[in-house]
Structure formats: structure tokens, C-alpha cells
């Protein structure tokens, strides 16, 4: 069973490889950060499969932290894209 799960995890790594190509090519900064987020989601899935394959629930905690904090890079990026780099693109123009 664990060999099958590791096989699926390896397959998910291929989707990470696809994401890496998007991080490389962009073309926009937003495309690259979206690809990083996608890779983060794949990483969580890989960790959950590894937890099941190794019957080690502590690995689920690693996946939990990654899922909790993965969006932070996107938050920092969105802020950096606002007018003064400290705001929020949703704010009305001053």
C-alpha cells in the first residue's frame, strides 16, 4: 500500500515540476506567484500521502503548517503590487 501511495506522491511531484516551468516563464509576476501557490498545494498533498504511506501522523502537522501559511507569500505579493507597496489594491485611490 505504501508503495502505491509513494507512487502517487511521485506523480504529484511531476505537477510540481510543471509548476516550476510556470515560475520560470511567468510571463507576469502574478503568474509566477500563482504557480508558487499551486506548488504549495501540491506540496501539502505530497505530505499527506507521505503521512499515509509512513503511517506517521506527525507529517500531517507539517502539511497543516504549510496549508496555514502558504497564502502569506501571496498576501505580501498583493501588498507589494499596491500603489505605495504598503496598502491593498482594493483601496480607493487617494
Amino acid at each position: 500500500m505504501s508503495a502505491v501511495l509513494l507512487g502517487f506522491a511521485a506523480f504529484l511531484l511531476l505537477s510540481v515540476a510543471g509548476g516550476l516551468i510556470r515560475v520560470l516563464r511567468g510571463p507576469d509576476a502574478a503568474d509566477r506567484i500563482m504557480a508558487v501557490q499551486l506548488i504549495g498545494t501540491s506540496g501539502v498533498a505530497v505530505l499527506l500521502l507521505l503521512a499515509a504511506a509512513g503511517a506517521n501522523p506527525a507529517i500531517v502537522d507539517v502539511a497543516l503548517i504549510m496549508a496555514l501559511l502558504a497564502a502569506f507569500a501571496a498576501v505580501a505579493f498583493v501588498k507589494s503590487a499596491s500603489a505605495d507597496g504598503l496598502g491593498d489594491p482594493e483601496e480607493p485611490d487617494p
Binding site: 508503495a3 509576476a29 507521505l50 507569500a73
Partner: protein, 313 residues
């Protein structure tokens, strides 16, 4: 070829590819994006090496703090650097940096290859002493009991790093507010996210510290999650980080190491500095970890926020 070998080979390949892309990239934004991915892959690699405690720390630091730090720093540099002088060092400086990094990498590779692949290291010694440690997680036992002085000194080094960052402030801003003023639309997506996530983050951080006594986790991982959550609330414009002269802040920064030092001093009176009686060890370790979590969270959040740059909110 077993699936495990395929997985590990692919993971190693992707990690090296992400690292090369981060170093070799011509634009800094791409390098930062690849560096975030690299941290994620390395966290998975630590899991495969059965070092779950390290994987937790890498996931929290890599996903939570490094991403915020690098992306905000890059945005700041791009806005403030005048054209022509974009922080590009001379050719000589670049070659020197490359040689230095290659030297460190070479020394690390040599140290890793010099390890005996069949050797058990310190594992037998630690398993033998673990029943007296008060906790079931051997990593926590080493960090807070057998080699507690390392952890004590590291927690003090973090404070020194923060003092160094603060010392970059201009005279006029000394004692003021860290970083520039963050703002957001009060009913927007960002502010809502900043209100939604902290309850989950607090639960996860407390869980990590508590779980650390028997399972992977501990003060550093829990403190890093807390720091990231605090920064998120500040970035969402919901709260401001306190003045660096604020007394409650200074108390939070110093409390963990000071309490740790006091515990060590009581141990010294009983015979051994930082020695813990096996019967009381678990309670003392959990108390020290709780204090350290608070101080590590405050220190890391303020390290990322930077030196004081204004006196008015």
C-alpha cells in the same frame, strides 16, 4: 526501481533545479519565487529523512516568514533604489561571494560524506537517557534538557539580532514604530483574511508547543507560526506593531530567555546549572517552552518588521 527511489530521486532533482534557478535567475522576483518553492521542497526532503521537527521549522520559516520578508524587501528596494544604482555589486564582489558560498557548500558536503553511513551517532546514548528527560520527543529532550545551554544561547542570539536590526534606525526614529505604516480597505479581502486566519493560527501554534513534548513540534515552530500570524494582522492593517520602546514588548522579548536563565540558576543551586530533576522535568520544560514561544514569536515578528522608521502612527 522502487517507488521510494523514484520519489526521492525526483524530489532531489526538483530541489536542485529550484536552487539553481533561484541563484542563476537574472531577475530578483523570479529568484524570490524559486526560493520559496525551494524551501517547500526542502521541507518535504526533511520529512523523507525522518527529521519531522526540522521539516516543521522549515515549513513555518520558509512558507511563513521568508516569503513575507523577501517579497516586501524586494518591493521596497524597487521603489527606493534610483536607476543605475540598483544594489548591483561589482564583478569582484560577486566572484568573492560565489567563492565563499561554494567553499561553505563544499565544507558541508565534505562533513556529510565523512559521516559513517552505518553509524548510530548519539541515538543509543539518547534512547538510554530519555526516560529521565521528562519528555518523549528525543529532539525536545536534547534541546531543552541534555543540551539546554545551546538553546538558551540561541534564544539570546535572536535578541542580539533584533538589537542589531534596531540599531540601523535613524536617531530621530529611535524608539519609534517598526517599518512603514501598513494599510488596507477595512472591509476588503485582505482585512477579512487578516481577521479570519488568526484564530486558526493561535490554535495551531499552541498545539505545536504542547505536542512538542511527545511528538515533533516545540517552541520554535509554534513561535514562528505566531510571528507569521502577528505580521499578517499588521499587514492587513488591523493592528500596528508596538513601538520598540514599549515596555510590554520589551518584557515579552526578554521573558523567555530570562525565565530559562532563572530555571538554570535554580538548577545550579541544586547542583547542576540547567540540570532538571527527572520528576519535575516535564513541567519545567513545558513552562520554559511556553515562555520561549512568546519571546521567539515577538522577536521573529519584529525582525521581519525591521528597524523603527517613524515616530507617528
Amino acid at each position: 526501481m522502487t517507488p521510494a527511489l523514484v520519489f526521492d530521486g525526483l524530489l532531489a532533482l526538483l530541489a536542485v533545479a529550484a536552487a539553481m534557478a533561484a541563484i542563476g535567475g537574472r531577475d530578483l522576483f523570479g529568484s524570490v519565487a524559486f526560493f520559496i518553492v525551494y524551501g517547500l521542497l526542502i521541507a518535504i526532503a526533511w520529512v523523507r529523512l525522518d527529521a519531522i521537527d526540522v521539516a516543521l521549522a522549515e515549513a513555518a520559516i520558509g512558507a511563513g516568514l521568508t516569503g513575507i520578508l523577501l517579497i516586501s524587501a524586494l518591493a521596497r528596494v524597487e521603489r527606493t533604489a534610483s536607476s543605475g544604482e540598483s544594489g548591483e555589486g561589482g564583478r569582484l564582489a560577486k566572484i568573492a561571494a560565489a567563492l565563499l558560498c561554494a567553499g561553505v557548500a563544499g565544507a558541508l558536503a565534505w562533513a556529510a560524506l565523512a559521516l559513517d553511513p552505518q553509524g548510530a551517532g548519539l541515538t543509543p546514548l539518547i534512547s538510554e537517557a530519555l526516560p529521565q528527560a521528562g519528555v518523549g520527543n528525543p529532539v525536545t529532550a536534547v534541546l531543552l534538557n541534555f543540551r539546554a545551554y545551546d538553546t538558551l544561547l540561541e534564544s539570546i542570539v535572536l535578541l542580539f539580532a533584533l538589537v542589531a536590526v534596531w540599531s540601523l534606525a535613524d536617531d530621530g526614529n529611535w524608539g519609534g514604530l517598526p517599518g512603514l505604516r501598513q494599510h488596507a480597505r477595512s472591509d476588503g479581502v485582505l482585512a477579512t483574511f487578516g481577521r479570519l486566519l488568526p484564530p486558526f493560527g493561535l490554535v495551531v501554534a499552541v498545539y505545536l508547543v504542547w505536542a512538542g513534548s511527545e511528538n515533533p513540534g516545540g517552541a520554535f515552530q509554534g513561535g514562528t507560526v505566531l510571528a507569521a500570524i502577528w505580521l499578517l494582522v499588521a499587514m492587513a492593517g488591523i493592528t500596528e506593531l508596538p513601538r520598540v520602546s514599549s515596555l510590554p514588548l520589551r518584557a515579552a522579548l526578554v521573558f523567555g530567555p530570562a525565565f530559562f536563565l532563572a530555571v538554570g540558576a535554580i538548577g545550579a543551586l541544586a547542583g547542576t546549572f540547567l540540570g532538571l530533576a527527572p520528576a519535575a522535568a516535564k513541567a519545567i520544560i513545558l513552562a520554559v517552552e511556553a515562555g520561549l514561544t512568546l519571546s521567539i514569536a515577538a522577536t521573529l515578528a519584529l525582525l521581519v518588521a525591521g528597524s523603527p522608521q517613524r515616530t507617528q502612527g
